[in-house]
């Protein structure tokens, strides 16, 4: 009788220990998703922060491009007004962010085409620095999106797999949504090492 009791309590103890370890893994995995999501929002914010400066610089040289500049300002405020979420559990949340940010990307690329007509602007130090910053920000956006997707996919794979899935919903861990991967993220770099 005593042996049986000991056996049962050992099994229960092991189950509890297993539950704790699964829970902790889920927590750290979710933390990882959250921090990479925060990074995504950071880099988008960084881009939004560059725009007022960019707009005023362009305005100084290209007064006639009112509508293009207004489009950029409008797209920026649309992108900034997307409510921030700590963890995107609904694909609609990602889609909303994506749509607003794409609107901004398009407005910016139209602006960059217009800018080609103003050699003085293109030659100005301030504008060149802004262009470098903008290019760097676009690159950071691509990097952080990719990292978020990796983190989100790993987290989802962990919580949806058996037997963790039995515990995940009980502990309140739900799958997160992710970005549609850009084609560039899929391509494998090829470097020819033969000379």
């Amino acid at each position: 009788m005593k042996k049986l009791l000991i056996g049962i309590s050992v099994v229960i103890l092991l189950a509890i220990l297993y539950g704790i370890s699964v829970y902790n893994t889920m927590v750290s995995s979710q933390q990882n998703v959250q921090s990479s999501w925060a990074q995504v929002q950071n880099v988008y914010q960084r881009r939004a922060d560059l725009i007022p400066n960019l707009v005023s610089t362009v305005k100084a040289y290209a007064k006639h491009e009112r509508t293009t500049l207004e489009d950029v300002v409008k797209a920026r405020s649309a992108a900034v007004s997307v409510p921030p979420v700590t963890l995107p559990q609904d694909p609609a949340q990602i889609a909303q962010l994506e749509k607003a940010q794409q609107g901004l990307s398009q407005a910016l690329s139209r602006l960059m085409v217009v800018v080609e007509r103003y050699p003085d602007l293109k030659a100005s130090q301030n504008f060149m620095a802004l262009q470098v910053e903008l290019a760097g920000t676009e690159n950071r956006i691509a990097v952080e999106r990719r990292r978020f997707n990796i983190a989100a996919q790993n987290y989802n794979a962990y919580i949806l797999r058996f037997p963790q899935n039995l515990l995940a919903s009980r502990f309140g861990f739900n799958p997160v949504a992710y970005f549609q991967a850009e084609p560039a993220a899929q391509s494998v770099p090829k470097v020819n090492f033969d000379q």
């Binding site: 921090s35 494998v188 770099p189 000379q195």
Partner: protein, 243 residues
């Protein structure tokens, strides 16, 4: 409590690095060489051996002093993806910079393609913003490259990067971190606790309690001699250029 928070932060970090590493190892293992042993990795053979030796020793000394890791990599052949993407993959694979400081910089050069990039780790983005990286490329490196003098261009670029990154971090050998203080604090508490327990139990406290000390993952990455460190990451900061 502070220890616990710190630990999850570390775990989070480890985990993300691990995942990224795993992902990259799977997809890009064939094309990107594994982490090198030296600072100057001239796969394209454009630098003279004296330049390579000089820069290797300069950068080693520099890392010992500042803990910043600056690595140069030249690759032969043509690139069929943007150099920014390639640099990100390279950085993910090599993990230049100290863990938790992310203070690494890679100068990537594709001579056949006339493309180059300075990839800056998260931790040095403040010291080397994109505009500065661009200025280093435009003013220090590409003029010499245009003239065909790779040795001069790379040396000038590395010198400028070293200048810019100087003072951002210190080598951690003499630093007494908050974590060390915490460990010592807990040790003192533990000693006092044992003494106290012994006292109230009348000296009958058994030797070797079964309590185990977790936490305190104080892995000080003392990259003293060889090309150590690693674990840094970058978020795509830096600048690219052509010549």
């Amino acid at each position: 409590m502070i220890m616990i928070i710190k630990q999850t932060k570390y775990m989070k970090f480890f985990f993300s690095i691990f995942l990224i590493g795993l992902f990259c190892a799977k997809a890009f293992a064939i094309v990107i060489p594994s982490k090198p042993d030296n600072y100057i990795n001239d796969y394209a053979h454009i630098l003279s051996s004296s330049t390579v030796a000089a820069l290797n020793s300069t950068l080693k000394q520099y890392e010992q002093k500042t803990s910043n890791q600056i690595v140069v990599a030249t690759f032969p052949g043509k690139l069929d993806i943007p150099i920014e993407d390639f640099s990100t993959h390279l950085e993910n694979q090599w993990k230049i910079g100290q863990k938790n400081k992310d203070n690494g910089v890679i100068l990537v050069i594709f001579p056949d393609d006339h493309q180059l990039r300075i990839e800056v780790g998260y931790g040095l983005e403040g010291a080397i913003p994109d505009a500065l990286a661009n200025t280093i490329i435009q003013q220090e490196i590409t003029p010499a490259f245009k003239a065909g003098d790779y040795n001069k261009g790379v040396t000038a670029g590395v010198t400028a990067i070293m200048q810019a990154a100087k003072g951002e971090y210190k080598s951690e050998t003499e630093a007494f971190s908050a974590q060390d203080a915490l460990v010592i604090f807990f040790l003192i508490i533990a000693v006092l606790l044992v003494w106290f327990l012994r006292k109230i139990q009348g000296g009958k406290f058994p030797n070797g309690g079964s309590g185990r000390w977790g936490g305190g993952s104080g892995s000080s990455s003392g990259s003293s001699d060889s090309f150590g460190g690693g674990g840094g990451s970058s978020g795509g900061g830096g600048a690219s250029g052509r010549w």
